[in-house]
Structures are given as structure tokens and as C-alpha cells.
Amino acid sequence: MAVSSVKISPETQRLELLLLLEAIYQKYGYDFRQYSMAHIKRRIDHRLALSGLPSISHLQHAVLYDPVMLLNVLHDLSINVSEMFRDPGFFLALRQEVLPRLSTYPFFKIWVAGCAAGQEAYSTAILLHENGLYDRARIHATDFNPHSLEQARQGNYPLTTIKEYTINYQKSGGLNSFADYYTACDQHGTMRPFLQEQMVFAEHNLVTDGVFGEMQLILCRNVLIYFNKELQNRVVGLFKDSLCPGGFLCLGAKESLKFSVHADAFEVVQEKERIYRKKRITQA
């Protein structure tokens, strides 16, 4: 806990937080102003505790003058935690409900939006590989954080987490042994290079960037929960504009299109696993 957080009132801290986010946006262009403030506050408290700075205002000063502190804060505010085959039931549904429809395209594009360190992109590549579809696919894995993208490119994960991934993989109906997909070395597992063959990594910020191609499937799970309603609407609109008619959108287990202003543009494929499909005829 920050030394001073007992003395500084929560209202003052909220103000300091808004000013910090405004400063980051004005100086560097990264826009966190429409993120969930409860989440941001928690991450910033964590940074204060690590750095020993007495207040968010001090952190603002450090971020403006010290590029290393900016990188730290960007890392804190990125959504870094993901697993491979997180929610095995979802991947089972993807295998059974979505892949048969994707297989009707001679070539298809998949967007993993907010890919963090790449776990979701590799999970998708494995799934396509096991269904004989990977050669026909292109996976666009994007994140606003260049550091996360570098991790995704390296595809290098601690063996302790690979153990969890293996259990998830088995539960999700995996056809092979998960060990077929990585080589272990020095407490790390590196994903095998063929999984990257159809993968493109690119910087893309869901808050400020636009459409970059027509997609048949978009995966964006456990990202929207970090955004406020206005930003959620913007991002779902971006997905709607990026999907081909009949294209699929997959959200996290606790995210829904139910209250989105774009709900009418989609139909439900499987509500429990949050799989949606863009309607073929939509209003302009």
C-alpha cells in the first residue's frame, strides 16, 4: 500500500488519477481515459507500491519526465494476463460451431484483438492446425503495447504456466499432445515456429485506431470489461465494421452484446460461450 494512501482522500486520488491519464494522453497519445477506473486505480496503486512514490501526482511527474516510468505504466495498464485455451468450453464450441463454417472459405482472416503475450493467437493456430485449416488462414494478432507484441512474437512461456495450458488444452478437446506444440528449454517452452507461419503481429490501439481489413472471425475476450460503456460501444462498432457479413465475434465469458448499441447487427450463435455472428443484412 502506498505510504500516503491513508492520508490522501479517495476523492483527491480520483482527481489525481484523471490528471495522470490526461497527461499520458496529451504527451504520448495513449488514451486510457475511458477505461474502468477501478481497474486503473488498482494497477496504479501497484506501481506506486513498487516505485515507493508517495502519490499519483508524483507518478505523473515521473511519467512525464522519465521514459522508463512511462513503459512501466504502459505495462501496468496493458491487459497482460491470458492463458492458452482459457475457458476450455469456449474452444470446444469454437471447434464445433465456428470452424465448420470457416472451412467453407477458400481463405479466411482472423483478428485476435488485444492479443497481449499471444496466448489466444497460438491457441487459435493450434485449433486450426488440428482441423486442417491453418494453411488457409491468416491470424492478425494486435495489441497497443509493443512490449506485449514482442513477447507474443517470441512465443516463450514459463513451463509452470505451460502446465496449466496443457490441462486447458486437454479439456478443450485437443486432439494431440500439447507437448507437440512447444520445445522446452531452461524452464521455458517456446512455441514451435510453424504456428507462426500464418500469423501477423501488428500494433493496433482499439481506442484510437480503425478498421484494417475484412475479417471472418474476431476474438476479443476479456478486453471489453476494462472499458467503460462508451468505449465498449466504439470497439464493438469497430468489430462490426471489420467483419464480413456472417463473420463471427467471440467475447469473454462475462462480456455480452446484450446492452451494446450494436446488438441488432449481430445474432447469437452460442450465448453461454459468447459467440456472435454479424447479420448478413444490416442497416447502414
Binding site: V6, P10, R42, D45, N80, K229, A253, K254, E255
Partner: protein, 190 residues
């Protein structure tokens, strides 16, 4: 320090929590003037059965907490498996899939610390039975902002580690066996 008026109750439980939570919720009336937010440690893969189980023997409405949902008095919100539960300044709920805290997701500390920021002296925090120290930090935070702290009597708890850790971390206002917690809340709130 003077507490209240109370605006919300947060409860945290781990091993043995289900039974204690049922005992407490059973003793609270539908007219409870505040919402209750609960983190019960639970396997990440489990279905969302907890609200159904907890809702069977209480007049209160028990539901799984949803992202962006606004809190209502007399409703019990249970953190879903594999997500942290937080409270926003406008008293809506937020879910977060971030790292585990104290090996737990949902974690009691995450809920308690974020609720403390929002409700300050209007918050009641309750730590119940459990086998680790999750919640101790969060309860201390509630105390620091002027909220009211209740801990289940370790002697009456199925697993005493969590109540003991909470007692070690802050000066709590009340230590009570499970069956005395609902009467105490009624006395404080009604």
C-alpha cells in the same frame, strides 16, 4: 471514529464458507437497506452455481455479479469464478481477469480495497472462515478509511487461518461466531 451511514457490506470467505454464508444470509431480511458483495474462493472451472445455492434459504435476492451492473439495496452480488470483482466510483460493478492475488481469483483483497475507496466509512467488511490470508489487507484498508470491520470468531470457524490473519492485520470492531453475525448486521443497519 464514527461509522456510517452504512452503504454496503462486503464479505470474504474461503474453505468452509458456503455454510457460514448461508447462515448469515438466512438471518437478513429482504428490507436490508444496503447491497452485499461476496467473494467466496471457488475453482476457476466451476459453473456459476454459487448464487443458486446461496439464494435457497434467504429472503434476499442473490445473483452473480455482472460487469457494469449498478448496485441495488437488498441484493447479494457474488463474484463469478475466475474473475476479480471491483466497485467503481459510481457504485457500479467491474470484473477483471487480471493476475491472481493471494493465489485466488476472485480475491477478497481486490474487492475489499476497491470497495473501501468508494464507500469509505460507509462500508462494513466481514471476514469469514478460510485457509489462507486473503482479505487481511483489504480489511485493514477498510479500517484505515473509517469503515467497520467484523471477523468470524476463529474458534467457531471451520478453518481459522483467514480470521486469524485478519485479526492480526487490523484492529477489528467485532469478533462473532457465525450465528451472531446476521443479528449484529441487523442491529447496525436496521
Amino acid at each position: 471514529m464514527k461509522h456510517g451511514p452504512f452503504q454496503a457490506i462486503v464479505m470474504g470467505a474461503s474453505a468452509g464458507g458456503l455454510e457460514v454464508l448461508r447462515t448469515i444470509l438466512q438471518g437478513l431480511p429482504a428490507t436490508l437497506p444496503v447491497p452485499i458483495l461476496i467473494v467466496q474462493h471457488i475453482s476457476p472451472d466451476s459453473d456459476s452455481y454459487l448464487p443458486t445455492l446461496l439464494g435457497k434459504h434467504t429472503e434476499l435476492r442473490v445473483k452473480e455479479a455482472e460487469d457494469k451492473e449498478t448496485l441495488s439495496a437488498g441484493v447479494v452480488y457474488v463474484a463469478p469464478p475466475n474473475y476479480h470483482l471491483l466497485v467503481e466510483a459510481d457504485q457500479s460493478l467491474a470484473l477483471c481477469a487480471g493476475s491472481k492475488v493471494n493465489f485466488s481469483r476472485p480475491a477478497i483483497d481486490v474487492l475489499f480495497e476497491s470497495a473501501a475507496e468508494v464507500f469509505v466509512s460507509g462500508l462494513v467488511g466481514v471476514i469469514l472462515t478460510g485457509a489462507n490470508h486473503d482479505g487481511a489487507r483489504g480489511l485493514a484498508r477498510i479500517k484505515a478509511v473509517g469503515g467497520l470491520c467484523i471477523v468470524q470468531d476463529p474458534q467457531s470457524a471451520q478453518v481459522s487461518a483467514m480470521p486469524l490473519a485478519a485479526l492480526a492485520a487490523s484492529i477489528v470492531d467485532y469478533v462473532r461466531p457465525a450465528e451472531k453475525i446476521a443479528p449484529l448486521l441487523n442491529h447496525l443497519l436496521l
